[in-house]
Amino acid sequence: MPKKKLTYSLNYRRPKSEYSPDDELTICIRYYHKCNQTKKTKIIKKSTGVRCMLKDWNSDWHKNSDRSPVKSSDPFHKKKNNILKKKVKDFDIQHLYSNVENESSSNYLKSNLPKGSIDLKWTNHKNTINLVSPANKRNIDIIVVGTGLAGGSACATLAELGYNVKAFCFQDSPRRAHSIAAQGGINAAKNYQGDGDSVYRLFYDTVKGGDYRSREENVYRLAEVSANIIDQCVAQGVPFARDYGGLLDNRSFGGVLVSRTFYAKGQTGQQLLLGAYSAMNRQIARGKIKMYNRHEMLDVVIVDGKARGIITRNLINGELERHSAHAVVLATGGYGNVFYLSTNAMGSNVTAAWKAHRRGAFFANPCFTQIHPTCIPVSGDHQSKLTLMSESLRNDGRIWVPKKLEDVNAIRNGSKKPTEISEEDRDYFLERRYPAFGNLVPRDVASRAAKERCDAGFGVNKTGEAVYLDFASSILRYGKEQARIKGEDENNNELIKKFGKEIIRKKYGNLFQMYEKIVDQNPYETPMMIYPAVHYTMGGIWVDYNLMTTIPGLYAIGEANFSDHGANRLGASALMQGLADGYFVLPYTIGDYLSDEISTGPIANDTKEFMLAEKEARDKLDMLVNNKGTKSVDYFHKRLGKIMWNKCGMARNKKDLQSAIAEISKLRKEFWSEVKVPGSQFEFNEELAKAGRVADFLELGELFAKDALNREESCGGHFREEYQTKEGEATRKKEFQFVSAWEYVGEPKNAILHKEKLDYKNIEVKERSYK
């Protein structure tokens, strides 16, 4: 047994000297132990949540006989000391010991990884976890919040297996979930192109693409089930693109050297979601899914430590409702809208995930955000959202800026057109810097390279924040090919262009149309202008191998969890993950937990926990509508977005992150005193719904900045200016090869960090290079 010792300590979050005696701090239990193998002392902290003022803290407490750290000057010292004593008693030492030998996992994070070699883990796990019999499934209710790819597929499969599903979404129909907007495609290791793809290669690409910050076991499983997703979707009638032989077609996406992306023009997400929606409809018709449209989840309800239900607001009439179940699944998508401007749908929010965090679910890697290189640049202050131009365009588009500053100026003042810049005066900067992958480098790399050029003054629009994505050479290439096939004149320029444009229209027609409607320029004739924008969040609720959060009975799937993409997601992998989680993983792993629930009986929704949670939600809504402020919700959301983009965006540094934390915390206070929400609670009130979402973003933003500050390295989407090579490439650090899982203890800036160390046994961790 390792040596152990328990003490208290104060939780200083800034240098000690910065505190005044009246500052409040949290008291932690500190647990020391010496590990048998390494003999190194390890300190593990656990917050107790008890707060005291510095002046009320007895720094000599351990020398005193009564061993009470809170001094009697604190009016609540008795109560507080009792809580502390009780916490020490309850401190789960046994649980800690079971993990001490295994240095790879933190003491609070049990990832439940199966044993065996990586290619057998999932199979073994499925063979050994507990199952629920069909007869018992009929007696078990599951709540699924969210009906995007992850939630929709999960609902359908769970209902098909026999569980009673209650599904929720805030839109007027499950078919409108944000997944509908995904454009480019979905990956799967089918190797239909015979270009050497395999489960291992997809696994390898995803772990490398994620910059070695994801869990090997989860990613391997994802690669393993990927092929099945395509079979499933085709059987459901998803009309993927096909070639003339009638077989499925593929394209390539960034960061990989094979063609494994299945697609349906630029509307892959739509087609996949409608597939999942149709599977849901079949179960709705059978009465196995009860669908609640226009319902927003406002809290999860925990009873005896287990997730037992949710509180929702009916967005049509404003009524609060209590829904109970044996387990709750969150499939509520990502939180990119914390930046205000992003490619996410207007309603995408963090509320469900954040409320779960507040109730005890750890939030992992909040700072890992994907900034997508090819989006339509911001056009003015009125901008309400940004539009993505799919990564698939980089298959045929070449990214460039002028080499000479005088050309840049001429373009900006309108005296020159981009088409008038000669080949040798163009800087195809991705092809120049990364010859092996060229325009198809991963997103984080492409985005930073574009920012670098624009920061150096080469941006091609009025604001200097745009680069070109040019299809001219592809149009010629395809045109020539077509002319040859059709036996037409290869040298007839007009004809070739016409043929070439037809091919481009077939591949990307809807994207080109979208661009033209927004920018009012014809991208078949002049290069598109693009700039990076917030797109996807790799971070999310921490989950174990079974996709269960740190709250028993609460699961998180799809973009809402953190599990598979590490510090950067590869294109076309989010759809894959959402459907893998929903169709093939969660429906099995959840049985392991529910097998203990077969004799629980229906869960009551009028217990004190439900009533209390409902009251808290009601109070918050009351506060919002009754606040006599003077500023709209959007005013605060925009200001938060500015802080996030300027200080927690594509490049971050210590000073900015520190000030971001302070600014967000201040803005949050201002929000609660100054916000103005019109109308009442009991009606259709979009401003009220928005206000609740922004309130949660204002908390998440602070944790986001704290996480970015804490991670003193650059990796994937997280780029710290202090940690870069001379050439401006990211410098990763071995000691940060872990997942940051944050525990809520009050103010987000006081959150407590738990580390899940990441071990790579099947992949050699290397400097990630795309040169």
Binding site: G237, Q270, A345
Partner: protein
């Protein structure tokens, strides 16, 4: 740009609505139509007025939420776009713009410009699926080749976003284009053939139950459909319906 907006205001499904006039200035032609409404709403909030409710989410023409009837046209004057893709450059300084919800008996108004389109969902529940289990135990995706033309046509039909512009445009409030698109998608694919008769009978039946009108082949729906869903889909559905009825 300076504009006059005449907008349908209705407190809730029970109350009677009316057109209300608003003046708005400093509108940039680069704004989208919905961003213009955002600007108006920001002002209304500060003036202690009730902001205008309208449905929207993706704001890029794919989710099918937005549904405004602008100057007598579903999704406004431009072709092949949704309301959220409409930009103010399509209007002139000094214009008066009429904004109403999509109207149909089957689409009751919830508030202002927000309507209830759950009738569409219920039609899909009645048969808009292929009865295959999601266990993944199915055959390899390439085991049945599908000729490209059928696959492409199925895809074109499947791009319907369920916005309801076709219904709002039709003088009979018919949902034939919407239903035809779904029926077509499945009838063009081998996977959908097995249940074809049951599907078309059930979906058409549900469509009638929801109170959508009949199709009189005017073709207005095709013109206003943001996704260019063609009338061929209605013809294909009628063929399927005939086939199924004969079998019955």
């Amino acid at each position: 740009m300076k504009l006059t907006l005449k907008i349908w205001r209705q407190k809730n499904s029970e109350s009677k609505g009316q057109m209300v006039s608003y003046e708005i200035d400093n509108i940039s032609p680069d704004m989208s139509f919905l961003e213009m409404l955002d600007v108006l709403n920001a002002r209304l909030i500060l003036e202690d007025d009730d902001p205008i409710s309208f449905d929207h989410d993706c704001r890029e023409g794919i989710c099918g939420s937005c549904s405004l009837f602008i100057n007598g046209q579903a999704h406004g004057p431009d072709r092949r776009i949704t309301t959220c893709q409409l930009h103010m450059r399509k209007f002139k300084d000094g214009d008066t713009i009429y904004v109403e919800p999509f109207r149909a008996k089957a689409f009751p108004v919830i508030k202002d410009l927000v309507i209830d389109r759950s009738a569409f969902d219920r039609i899909q529940h009645s048969g808009g699926y292929i009865s295959v289990n999601t266990s993944g135990n199915t055959q390899d995706a390439n085991s049945i080749p599908i000729n490209k033309e059928d696959a492409d046509n199925a895809f074109d039909a499947a791009t319907c976003i369920g916005c309801g512009a076709c219904v709002a445009t039709c003088k009979n409030s018919s949902a034939m284009l919407f239903v035809g698109a779904k029926i077509s998608q499945y009838s063009l694919l081998p996977q959908g053939k097995t249940e074809a008769s049951r599907r078309v009978l059930n979906m058409v039946n549900q469509m009638d139950l929801e109170g959508f009108g009949n199709c009189s082949n005017t073709g207005a729906c095709e013109v206003e459909c943001p996704k260019g869903i063609s009338l061929d889909n209605i013809a294909r559905m009628n063929r399927e319906l005939l086939k199924a009825s004969l079998k019955k």
